[in-house]
């Protein structure tokens, strides 16, 4: 492990200039994007750049610690090893100071004591004093056995919540700098096809003449306005008359979008081909085969993205909310045509981003506007900028086929999925720098994988075919949206499994139970079922003629690292087509759980967000542009519609920690789809499951 993650020198950090500290740090990875990089999988061996130190622990003289790492999943094991190095170094110092061998020392809450000699103790802080110690990272110091953990595995309250509840917390949107101008971008109200971009045909600067404080900033097809008063910038952006060329190259309807994807010249890859799938289907007792369509969906951070840039002749400082400051720096360097090393990116928390929303776009926009005006510029996207120009979670269409034998054992599974991959070029780079639209290679999260496409089940015969759609030919910008692809995959895969259970005259939970792939999947499925007090019966066995009918559904799913299962209990108004998720149960098994309270909160959010995405969320568009540009045209779940939630954390403290933030949203979404069948005896194979779709499906039945 130490050879993969070599030690490096700890660079001086501003916050460490005062007081003493003990430091252990390492460069974790050559990139810092929280999601898969546009270019796909992580590169091979690399040389750590001390300027890009991204995992470190600092113990301060006041006996507090600052820890910086990637997610618990990726950075957790390294931070544990770095902490062990720090502990070993501190124990050596304590041994000297206390005159006792290291073997006799114990540590609790940052205080080192000599066993059997209670008076002899010293704090970590006192050992550090006003000196600074750089401890080399070895990754070889002994770590504590998980059975002796006292804090890991217990719920600890978050320390950011008091400031957030009282209005003292500084979000990016609050940051101001002296001499700053307020900027707004001026774009068509809703993006068109990514491959086409948008061109300015004419711009009438005179249209904002009556707002004397405001002026136009333009570079190629990038248009913005700046003003010293924010309201002047807002008004000017709304009033500025620009005629745009946006080709009418988008599909005519949402349905036509999926036809276009299927008819496209795709790059096909067989991701999995185990056993003899065709022969197994031919001899199977029960076979189910259907098509499923899932739309583009928006990240829709609650505070639209915001950035401040102060660009000088040969240097720049950019403040923004980003999941990867180094990747953002490279993107800013590109539009400024300035060496990366001359650019500083300062991170400030924004609202939840749920993946790669348009935070790089706003950072680039602020940088371009600052470079053009020679003043610091704060760009706050308006709601329509954020909704209209997001990198959407890509649409997906699938043909899913599955078969079981007479005993209800799965014998064959085949999944064909179509989607384009993620876009690389941000809108500002496209408009201001003329950078062509381009796509990344398929990363693990933007093509089908065995992990999220079948691996939860024991499958003797199994085929997965990924059809990569050419994303520059009439589609939108795309980027990872929380649990990329998984929700769409589960929507299809978990419904056909349910249908097999129905054909086999079995309860859908019992059917899954006898087909799960291994104990960990079985345990998480059982946990969700037990939480919901699931009593076995065949689905749709209690159909009613009442106007409002009830149903329950169960499903499993993952985002490539952990184990997720969910149960949904819903009500369907058969007249209006309105579905309400009443109660949702979500279980996650993610190995060693560091803070169960956090995990419960994440599950809570995932259950609500799954209901929102499954019941409401869909990017709409015309031939030329996106038309879902605010919370009315792109509704999300509201408080009155929120389910009661029951999070279940399945602990496996002996296993490595994996992710929790995306791991049961797919199961929860599919559980809702299965509950709809239980309630109505009808399947919905297009989502979101909106009232018009529900009414139409019930009419057809």
């Amino acid at each position: 492990m130490s050879s993969d993650f070599p030690a490096t020198t700890f660079p001086r950090r501003d916050f460490l200039k005062a007081g003493g500290a003990l430091l252990v740090g390492l460069t974790f990875a050559p990139r810092a994007d929280a999601q898969q990089p546009p270019g796909g999988a992580i590169a091979g061996p690399f040389t750590p750049d001390p300027e890009q130190l991204d995992t470190w622990i600092a113990i301060h003289a006041d006996n507090t610690a600052t820890i910086f790492s990637a997610s618990i999943n990726r950075g957790g094991p390294r931070i544990r090893l770095a902490a062990a190095d720090a502990r070993q170094a501190l124990l050596a110092r304590a041994s000297q100071q206390l005159g006792a061998p290291v073997e006799r020392l114990t540590v609790s809450r940052g205080v080192v004591s000599v066993a059997g000699s209670p008076g002899q103790s010293v704090t970590y802080g006192a050992l550090i004093g006003d000196r600074r110690f750089d401890v080399p990272y070895t990754g070889k110091a002994p770590v504590k056995d998980y059975r002796n953990h006292t804090i890991v595995g217990a719920s600890v309250p978050r320390n950011d919540i008091p400031a957030k509840a009282s209005g003292k917390y500084v979000y990016m949107q609050h940051v101001r700098v002296p001499g700053m101008l307020h900027g707004r971008v001026v774009r068509p109200r809703g993006q068109g096809a990514y491959g086409d971009g948008a061109r300015v045909l004419s711009l009438d600067a005179g249209s904002i003449r009556d707002i004397p404080g405001a002026r136009v900033v333009r570079r190629r097809d990038f248009v913005g306005v700046v003003a010293s008063e924010e309201w002047d910038a807002v008004r000017a952006a709304q009033r500025l008359r620009v005629t745009w060329d946006q080709p009418a190259s988008l599909p005519e309807t949402p349905a036509a979008l999926f036809e276009r994807m299927r008819a496209a010249k795709t790059i096909d890859s067989v991701v999995m081909d185990r056993g003899g799938v065709d022969a197994a289907f031919a001899s199977a007792r029960h076979v189910v085969s259907h098509r499923f369509d899932s739309p583009y969906q928006i990240h829709a951070g609650f505070g639209p993205n915001c950035a401040i840039a102060d660009v000088k002749t040969d240097s720049a400082v950019v403040m923004c909310s980003t999941q990867g400051p180094y990747a953002t720096r490279a993107k800013i360097a590109d539009v400024l045509e300035m060496p990366e090393g001359n650019i500083t990116v300062r991170y400030y928390e924004g609202s939840g981003t749920f993946g790669r929303s348009c935070y790089d776009d706003v950072a680039q926009a602020a940088a371009v506007m600052s470079q053009e005006t020679g003043a610091p510029v704060r760009v706050q996207f308006m709601r329509w900028d954020e909704h209209g120009w997001d990198n959407f979670g890509p649409a997906h269409t699938a043909d899913v086929k599955i078969a079981a034998d007479a005993n209800g054992k799965l014998v064959a599974y085949q999944y064909h999925g179509w989607q384009h991959t993620w876009s690389v070029t941000d809108t500002t780079a496209q408009l201001a720098a003329g950078r062509p639209a381009s796509e990344g290679q398929d990363g693990r999260a933007q093509s089908l994988t065995p992990t999220n496409t079948g691996e939860m089940y024991a499958l003797p015969n199994w085929r997965i075919v990924n059809h990569r759609v050419p994303g520059l030919q009439g589609y939108f910008k795309g980027a990872p949206l929380r649990s990329p692809l998984d929700l769409a995959i589960a929507f299809g895969a978990e419904q056909v499994i349910d249908e097999l259970a129905y054909l086999a005259n079995m309860d859908p939970y019992v059917f899954r139970r006898q087909n799960m792939n291994g104990d960990r999947w079985l345990a998480v499925l059982n946990a969700a079922a037990e939480a919901a007090k699931w009593s076995p019966r065949k689905a749709a066995a209690n159909l009613s003629k009442a106007r409002v009918v009830k149903g329950r559904g169960i499903a499993v799913g993952t985002h490539l690292s952990s184990y997720g299962a969910a149960v949904a209990e819903i009500e369907v108004d058969r007249d209006t087509g309105v579905i309400v998720a009443k109660r949702m149960y979500g279980a996650i098994e993610a190995g060693q759980i560091v803070n169960p309270g956090f995990v419960e909160n994440q599950i809570t959010g995932m259950l609500v967000q799954a209901a929102s995405r499954m019941l409401k969320e869909e990017v709409t568009f015309s031939r030329t542009n996106v038309t879902s540009v605010d919370w009315v045209s792109y509704p999300i779940l509201r408080c009155s519609e929120a389910p009661e939630v029951f999070p279940v954390v399945v602990k496996r403290q002996d296993q490595p920690s994996t992710g929790v933030g995306e791991e049961c949203i797919a199961a929860a979404a599919a559980a809702i789809a299965n509950a709809f069948f239980d309630a109505t005896g009808v399947r919905l194979r297009e989502q979101p499951m909106t009232p018009p779709r529900v009414v139409a499906a019930l009419r057809r039945a």
Binding site: G303, S351, G352, N601, V608, R638
Partner: protein
């Protein structure tokens, strides 16, 4: 041309165009961090403040409409609560702010300015709301992280605290 208004119980004379939305006055001129930009369309509730005790969307309320009136932001809630309850001094936090902490309700927390403002308005009018009343009152405040279930619990907890005479 200054406009006079009261913000968190202090008189403020603001020199700005009268059609300027109150949000920009609070954020830029008065440097308050409670109300914040979310949509500019009165759709989400990020920018909510109390105007003479009633929740409004500051992103669409022009400065001229609040002249001479009393605005309370998230920062001013404890003092407003003290005034409403005739307490000798303002607590550090409004009971709902404390309940949000105790329930670990929020995730990113961006919408919690509005959630707390609206919840505090509800509790001032109806100190013992039912779950259905909470859901109805809070329905105009969106949360992208999906924290509604915990936010409902936080309002119930605050309701109990108020009934118990606690903070």
């Amino acid at each position: 041309m200054a406009t006079r208004l009261i913000v968190n119980q202090r008189m403020q004379d603001v020199d700005a165009a009268p059609d300027t939305p109150l949000l920009y006055i609070l954020s830029n001129n008065l440097e308050l961090q409670g109300p914040r930009f979310g949509c500019g369309l009165a759709q989400c509730g990020s920018c909510s403040v109390l105007l003479d005790g009633v929740e409004i969307r500051s992103c669409v309320t022009p400065l001229s409409a609040v002249a001479g009136k009393s605005v309370t932001t998230l920062e001013g809630l404890p003092a407003l609560y003290a005034q409403q309850k005739k307490l000798a001094s303002a607590p550090e936090l409004h009971p709902l702010q404390q309940a949000v902490i105790d329930e670990q309700a929020l995730q990113c927390g961006y919408c919690y300015n509005g959630q707390i403002i609206k919840g505090a308005e509800l509790l001032s009018k109806n100190p013992q709301p039912s779950v259905e009343q909470i859901r109805t009152a809070m329905n105009g405040h969106l949360c992208r992280c999906g924290t509604y279930p915990r936010m409902i619990k936080a309002i119930q907890r605050a309701s109990r605290a108020i009934a118990g005479g606690g903070r």
